[in-house]
């Protein structure tokens, strides 16, 4: 699939997906979400990709669904559920189930489902000038893209309800203080910092990182007893990996490990 609304770059195991509709602060049109979905499918299946960096072109990260999209169905019979079923929900499921880490570099406003994309990433780093907004209630909707699930787990039930109902715009600093994102850096340093983190993860023990993703996803619905069993099973599996052998050897030899993701 040729991409028109997104950019995809590869560099030694690190893929960079850039939302590219800067004149609309990267609002998600039907065309763009179809490309995003195709792109995540490709990246998930490509074993040469060991980490993904997600960011936006221009001043914005992602302004959420494009309400002025000519392809958008309008009117009273429009089915908001259909677009979620066909595009947005598969994208969130792909991001979470993909066995490699995703770093979001939030370079500007992240609103609506754009904020959901940041929350669905494994590690989100924001520019100091970035803002976060659960815009949905402002137009009579509820947060989607998994935000009704991410928010209470990240900020607790009370703040989650207020963020969803009152739809306040919050700063990157506030988002960090509340645990919505991992870090805030100066605008000029964002891309280099986020690329560095993504590169480090891309050079990391990919299988272990994948099992960390899976285990943390399960932890939110598991009982402790089930989670202990799951840790046992995953650890057993990782104990047979080449990267574990290399990690232990490097530790004992007091040198840096060279992981291959196997």
């Amino acid at each position: 699939m040729a991409y028109d609304r997104i950019l995809l770059a590869h560099d030694q195991g690190l893929a960079t997906l850039t939302l590219n509709a800067p004149d609309k602060l990267n609002a998600v049109s039907r065309k763009m979400i179809a490309e995003i979905k195709d792109c995540w499918e490709t990246l998930a299946a490509d074993s040469s990709v060991r980490a993904v960096l997600l960011t936006g072109a221009g001043r914005g990260f992602c302004a959420g669904a494009d309400l002025s999209d000519p392809d958008r169905e309008g009117g009273p019979t429009a089915d908001s559920g259909a677009a979620l079923d066909k595009f947005f929900n598969p994208v969130i499921r792909l991001m979470r189930s993909m066995p490699k880490p995703i770093v979001a570099a939030v370079n500007g406003p992240a609103a609506g489902v754009g904020m959901s994309f940041a929350l669905a990433s494994d590690i989100a780093i924001a520019a100091r000038s970035a803002t976060f907004l659960q815009a949905f209630a402002r137009i009579g909707l509820l947060p989607d893209g998994g935000s009704t699930w991410f928010l209470p787990r990240m900020v607790g039930d009370q703040r989650a309800r207020a963020l969803a109902m009152l739809a306040p715009r919050i700063t990157a600093e506030q988002a960090k203080a509340w645990g919505l994102i991992w870090d805030v850096v100066d605008d000029g340093a964002l891309l280099a910092t986020a690329t560095d983190v993504a590169r480090r993860l891309g050079d990391g023990p990919t299988l272990a990182l994948a099992r960390i993703k899976a285990a943390l996803d399960k932890s939110s619905a598991n009982q402790l007893s089930s989670q202990l069993d799951l840790e046992r099973d995953f650890q057993r599996e990782l104990g047979r990996s080449e990267d574990y052998r290399e990690g232990v050897a490097a530790f004992l030899a007091k040198r840096k490990p060279v992981f291959k993701g196997k």
Binding site: A82, N89, R96, I139, L142, D144, G156, A221
Partner: protein
């Protein structure tokens, strides 16, 4: 002033001759149902009459389309001191002569918490003073909590050899995380409002003199908002803690589909594109 407020009294308290004997003052105004706990001499401790009045009003609000938000607060120095331990306490006597606290939970306290959580409209708590025991957890059951700077949140239960109830053992870990929840419950900690805000139990702390004005404004704002959105958000947040992400994505799809057909969504999009303020009607 007092006659004016008296004139607005509704519900089971209507026939009572004196304000002091009305356990809950009820005001309905511009889409907001305000419930003011009114046993100030007992720091608004929960007795059967008070809980029955709250439950009665919440049940009425459920079917009253003119009510689009609820504001809960207290008269005097306290928000709510929890179960009233005077007059024999909340325990109905069990078969062995010892109190049966479970019976009171079943009949009064738990229905109150369930009524708040399942009400399809936002509930705001204005915590004007101490919120202790069941009073603290009554506040946590509300969707948005504002607190006066002098207020305190006190999980007092262990001091009388009980455990947190009114949902406290569920709300606390979901709000402040497991480690803090265990400490708060076991130590019976009493938190100043600012500490509670830092832990995420309170959306906003306000100077005492500003609390009620801000709370009324917030409730009015919510009452003029997209009520169906708020209802869907409540429902989604209520089940989020036990859902998998997969189940929650399906739920968001179904709720968003329903909201996408609402009048308020059409208005919201039209207002957004025209760059004007939306006028929501709650349909």
């Amino acid at each position: 002033m007092r006659r004016d407020r008296m004139a607005r009294l509704r519900g089971p308290c209507q026939s009572r001759p004196a304000m002091e004997r009305t356990p809950v003052i009820v005001v309905r105004e511009a889409g907001v149902l305000t419930l003011i706990l009114n046993r100030p001499q007992r720091l608004n401790a929960l007795n059967p009459a008070l809980i029955e009045a709250v439950n009665h009003e919440l049940a009425r609000a459920r079917d009253d389309h003119d009510i689009r938000a609820v504001l809960l607060t207290g008269v005097g120095r306290g928000f709510c001191a929890g179960a009233d331990l005077a007059d024999g306490g909340p325990g109905e006597s069990g078969a062995d002569g010892r109190p049966d606290l479970g019976a009171a939970m079943d009949r009064l306290f738990n229905p109150m918490i369930r009524n708040i959580r399942t009400l399809a409209k936002p509930v705001v708590a204005a915590v004007n003073g101490v919120a202790a025991g069941g009073g603290a957890n009554l506040a946590l059951a509300c969707d948005i909590v504002l607190a006066a700077r002098s207020a305190r949140f006190d999980q007092a239960f262990v001091r009388i050899s009980l455990m947190p109830d009114l949902g406290g053992t569920w709300f606390l870990p979901h709000i402040v995380g497991d480690a803090r929840a265990r400490a708060l419950a076991m130590l019976g900690a009493s938190l100043p409002a600012e500490e509670a805000e830092r832990m995420g139990m309170v959306w906003q702390v306000l100077d005492d003199g500003l609390l009620m004005g801000e709370a009324r404004e917030l409730a009015a704002q919510l009452a003029a908002g997209p009520t169906l959105s708020y209802a869907a958000i409540k429902k989604a947040m209520n089940v989020a803690p036990t859902n998998t992400l997969d189940q929650q994505l399906d739920l968001e799809r179904d709720s968003q589909r329903a909201l996408g057909r609402s009048d308020d969504f059409r208005e919201g999009v039209a207002a957004f594109l025209a760059k004007r303020a939306p006028r929501f009607v709650g349909r």
